[in-house]
């Protein structure tokens, strides 16, 4: 067990993968200086500027070129800086990378990890705060990961780099400094959820930093006599329907919470799937929490109106129990 922050965890995983496999390389803006959040600090010194490549401000080319390089046998780790800027490379990701293997009848692979830091980060405003995980889950061909702890960021980054599919890797900007114990020998199978807390009364399903909020909420709920089970999906595609459905079959109650906009969010998919596969097991109303269909403002009090809070999760959980 090693103590690491969230940002150190994926950096260390990346470093080890680069040491183990010389086809792995990183590409993006300002990587030589560690990128915006220090995710690459020291790597250019260690691996040189070819394998930690500083690029022009050309998101479309970063994405497209990494794809071309993946098709000839390298394994790029692509840095998009803020997930918002990745929208400048949507054709490349969605029409090209996600589709090539199928469209070319299986001739190609695109083993790439595409890192897009997501989420609310104090006063970053509307163009630097989005979480669009539900978009990528809707695109066949893509794997979508949302780690929420240092351990998961370590183990999932390794699994993502090993994966032969293109992986959209969504780290939350607000938890770079989060500390935790990391077992560097732990392997995580992509698509398996983490049960962050066992409980009998209500199932809280979440991912990314909101999963951490759910763990907090579960503690508060416990103090109020409600025994919540917290499922951190961590992988949204593939996602662990079995874990969610079997938990709901046990508890009979469901709250889904995420930071992204509620309307059209992945929470709807979770609710719809549970209703389809275990609708008979539900013993109370279902609750879904997400941001209003509004934009993230700069002013801190307005920004806060977009946040799902611990209190909202607690209240929703109690409502499912008729409390």
């Amino acid at each position: 067990m090693v103590k690491m922050t969230f940002v150190e965890a994926s950096r260390e995983a990346l470093r080890e993968m680069m040491q183990a496999d010389e086809t792995v390389w990183c590409v993006g803006e300002d990587l030589g200086r560690g990128s915006v959040f220090g995710q690459y600090l020291g790597l250019q010194d260690e691996f040189g500027p070819d394998r930690v490549a500083d690029t022009p401000i050309s998101e479309a080319a970063i994405m497209g070129a990494a794809f071309g390089a993946a098709m000839v046998g390298t394994r790029p780790v692509v840095e998009m800086r803020f997930s918002d800027f990745a929208l400048c490379a949507t054709d490349e990701l969605v029409n090209q990378i996600a589709k090539a293997r199928f469209m070319f009848g299986g001739q190609s692979r695109a083993p790439m990890v595409i890192r897009k830091p997501i989420g609310l980060w104090r006063s970053s405003a509307a163009q630097h705060s989005q979480s669009l995980e539900s978009w990528y889950v809707h695109i066949p061909g893509l794997v979508v990961l949302c780690p929420a702890t240092p351990q998961d960021n370590y183990s999932m980054m390794k699994a993502a780099i090993r994966c032969d599919d293109p992986v959209v890797y969504l780290e939350h900007k607000n938890i770079w400094g989060m500390e935790g114990e990391v077992d560097t020998s732990l392997e995580i199978e992509l698509g398996k959820a983490a049960v962050r807390r066992q409980g009998a009364d209500v199932t809280l399903v979440s991912w990314s930093d909101t999963a951490n909020l759910c763990v907090q909420a579960a503690k508060t709920l416990a103090a109020q006599g409600v025994d919540a089970e917290v499922i951190d999906l961590r992988s949204l595609w593939p996602w662990d329907k079995e874990a969610v459905v079997s938990s709901v079959r046990k508890t009979g109650r469901l709250v889904v919470a995420h930071e992204s906009v509620a309307v059209g969010g992945f929470g709807a998919e979770v609710v719809a799937t549970v209703v389809e596969q275990a609708g008979d097991a539900l013993r109370g109303p279902v609750r879904r929490l997400g941001a209003p269909r509004s934009l993230v403002a700069y002013a801190p009090n307005l920004e806060d109106k977009m946040r799902v809070t611990e209190q909202m999760i607690v209240t929703a959980a109690k409502e499912t129990m008729g409390k």
Binding site: E29, D54, S123
Partner: protein, 332 residues
Amino acid sequence: MSTADHNTKRGRDLLAMMERIRAFEEQACLAAERDKLVLGAIHPSIGQEGVAAGVMCNFNRDDILLSTHRGHGHTLAKGADPLAMMRELLGREGGCCGGKGGSMHIADFGVGMLGANGVVGANITIAAGAAHGLKLQGSDRVVVDIFGDGAINRGPFLEGVNWASVFDLPILFVCEDNQYSATTKTSSVTGGPGAAARAESLGLRATTVDGNDAEAVADITAEITARIRAGGGPEMLHAITYRRTGHTSFDPAGYRPNGESEHEAKTNDPIARQRAVLAGMGLSTDELDAIHAAAQSEMVQVLADAAATPFPADEMALQDVQDIGSPAQEAY
């Protein structure tokens, strides 16, 4: 007014504007670092004021400006109210965007400033479109679009400049080349000779100017805008300057060669150079200092007033999303 008087007046105005921009940004940096009142990032243009002042003095209030994340100077020089701007940086009520945009999204439609932009290069196609709209309306207004040297490596540069070229639009593109893109020396990631050559290859006339020489910037922009107003079509101005601060106010910029910024500050400060020009025209040190002092006291007051303003009303979080469809989370 004689030509000499005219020149002196413009020179004085250029200095005053540069001093006001400098003072505004110094106060903004203090607000960020000393007072912790600015919660998001700010991107100072300290040392680049010659471009803002020299370019913008050739545009009218009803002309259109689009700018970047590093746009305080351009916005002030377009005539925006510094108090409304400072309130915006502090996320307050009465900010020019009601506190919802912050420094990176400053806009003041009242003075024709249609927005800074948090996405590098994104303003280029939008600005071309604003010029397109003006042309469709038969307007005689023109557009100026300012972007950084890093933006010329993004696709919208090609698409937007080509668009202006094809539709022969009334727009001046200004590449404000401060030689850095965040932590990267831009020349290291830019193929070929740069902004002017690229614009020329797309059919534009392009001019390069010393951006720290406010007089030269003002002169050449006057010539160019006269051509554009006369229907001569789009042009490019490549203004070379230097980013004296880090990328944001919090960036120590340790990636730069030692002493580079200090050397620029000492030898190539647009304000110092303009003071020298005006001294040459006969202005006294006292007169010049008075311009400086006025700017300083204006902006100290601006920060004090902004800091005394409340945050916006909570309800604003769901306002101005769209006309139809409620933004409220009402799924349950």
